[in-house]
Amino acid sequence: MQSYVQIENAGMVFNTRKGRFTALADINLNVEHGEFIALIGHSGCGKSTLLNLVAGLLDATEGVLLLANKEIKGPGPERSVVFQNHSLLPWLTAFENVYLAVEKVFGTGESKAQLKARTTAALELVGLTHATGKLPGEISGGMKQRVGIARALAMEPKVLLMDEPFGALDALTRAHLQDELMKIVAATKSTVMMVTHDVDEAVLLSDRIVMMTNGPAATIGDVLSVDLPRPRDRLALAHDPHYHALRSQVLEFLYSRQMRPLEAA
């Protein structure tokens, strides 16, 4: 059987004012259905670019990307994205933000009441039933990010793409949302690709960690399978030697094999 997401020899070249810049080269990755993949690497290594290729927000200049054996051409709601800075529309309430997505995906076949029920369910899933009528400006950063997740999940995507979704949050909120995300993903059996620069987050959440080399012409340096049993508990893992072994493998890759050159710092 073919993999769900297939990335074959993908490359990305940007035409900048200073000339051609090769961001990604020779990316080969297969993601199985229901798998949680973390993309990790130093900033500027093109991990977000790779995610945007899967999202269809960028078109690969080389190679091909497939989802369920169909070529990815342009963005679409079956590959919903949770953006780093939540990207909620500030003039719409939490409910309206999610409803906009729900209406687009299911609007043709379902009644208004069904669409509203979907929206309410998605907000309930992320624990925001009390804040549905609030504008993004009236809720905290963590809540905004949860609305963003609710919006992405409500579309029932084939692949959920997350671009450093918790990067802008404080540590406690981040931990809380990570735990919630694990529960939601377990319940919905979503296929997830998540960009992160947080080693603990990558080990805690994912089935495989894709470690990327530094750019330009960044590519996949190594892939680490995280064979920790689920459900995972962050407190129990804190004393798990296997967890620490995995963690040090990622750290070793990032800080010893892919140390950023000094001039970049």
């Binding site: 999202a55 269809g56 927000l57 342009g74 963005p75 679409g76 709601p77 590959r79 919903s80 994205v81 953006f83 800075n85 990207s87 529309l89 500030p90 003039w91 719409l92 906009l100 997505a101 687009k104 995906v105 504008l135 400006g137 579309m155």
Partner: protein
């Protein structure tokens, strides 16, 4: 005394049911304690606080006004023909006591003059908004159009509004549409430029959301483009109405007819300086009101 009160109130209580029940409770509770001075109670403290803030906020502007009037009085004493504040005030009271008289085209009340000027500004500015805002959207959305029009806009924008008047008179043949044309051409630029800037500054994230959701062009416009650009549009509108009101006085001085600008010129010919000073205040106050009104509107529509 309190005993008597209590009995009558109890009686009332019994007679009229529970409606007035809270009143006796309050009075009996307050009766035994020392009567707190009003300024020590919560509401009293708040009143003092509010009065103080009111004074703090009111004193600087009042002082400024007094200084201005004092300076004006001083000047009117030393310069011949400039009427002082008191004289102007009397003249204004007289003028505004009958603002809507009509003794033919060259002698109408101040109210008519203001309304006529507002009408011209409204038409000219309305046309400018109807053309300028959509044009701004297109200039912001399509880079080609932007690069095509920006040299023309850059050249035309700094042109003094009145330089357009002869062209208007030549083409439109009449004074009235010519002055509207001047308002139109001078107030269109802030709306075009601000709307275009607003469209260009829409965060890429919002457009990415639109792309991921695959929203239709209509939804993109109503749910993202329009609300995101609205604050910029309103800034443009506010600047434009300021310009339009600025220009109308000068345009009417040249074109004549009923209007505050022509009225100023007319009073200058009559050597009625008090009326000219009144006109200056009227123009200033109406302009302020227009701008404040739009500020309120802008606040209503700003989402951050």
């Amino acid at each position: 005394m309190s005993a008597v009160n209590a009995t009558t109130e109890n009686l009332n209580d019994i007679l009229s049911g529970e409606d007035i029940a809270p009143t006796p409770q309050v009075s009996t509770a307050a009766a035994p304690a020392r009567r707190t001075p009003y300024f020590e109670t919560e509401s009293g403290k708040r009143l003092v606080e509010n009065t103080l803030t009111l004074f703090r906020n009111a004193i600087p502007p009042l002082l400024g006004m007094l200084l201005f009037i004092g300076l004006w009085g001083l000047i009117s004493h030393s310069v011949k023909n400039i009427p002082g504040p008191a004289e102007t005030w009397h003249s204004a009271v007289e003028l505004f006591s009958d603002p809507f008289y009509n003794n033919g085209p060259n002698d109408q009340g101040i109210g008519w003059n203001i309304l006529n000027s507002l009408y011209r500004v409204g038409i000219g500015f309305g046309l400018a908004a109807a053309v300028g805002i959509p044009l701004g959207f297109m200039v912001g959305r399509f880079d080609f159009l932007n690069r095509m029009l920006s040299p023309i806009i850059s050249i035309l924008r700094p042109v003094s509004p009145l330089a357009w008047l002869p062209i208007g008179l030549l083409v439109l043949q009449k004074a009235e549409p010519a002055s509207i044309w001047v308002i139109f051409i001078s107030s269109i630029w802030p709306m075009v430029l601000n709307t275009a800037a607003g469209v260009q500054r829409i965060p890429q994230d919002y457009m990415n959301v639109a792309r991921v959701l695959n929203l239709s062009e209509f939804k993109v416009f109503t749910k993202i483009l329009f609300p995101a650009v609205l604050p910029y549009v309103l800034t443009g509108v506010r600047l434009s109405i300021g310009v339009a009101w600025l220009v109308i006085v000068a345009a009417e001085m040249l074109t004549g007819g009923v209007g505050i600008g022509f009225w100023v010129w007319d009073e200058w010919n009559n050597l009625n300086v008090a009326h000219i000073i009144i006109a200056i205040f009227v123009v200033g106050i109406v302009g302020l009101l227009l701008e404040q009104g739009l500020m309120l509107l802008a606040k209503r529509f700003s989402y951050e």
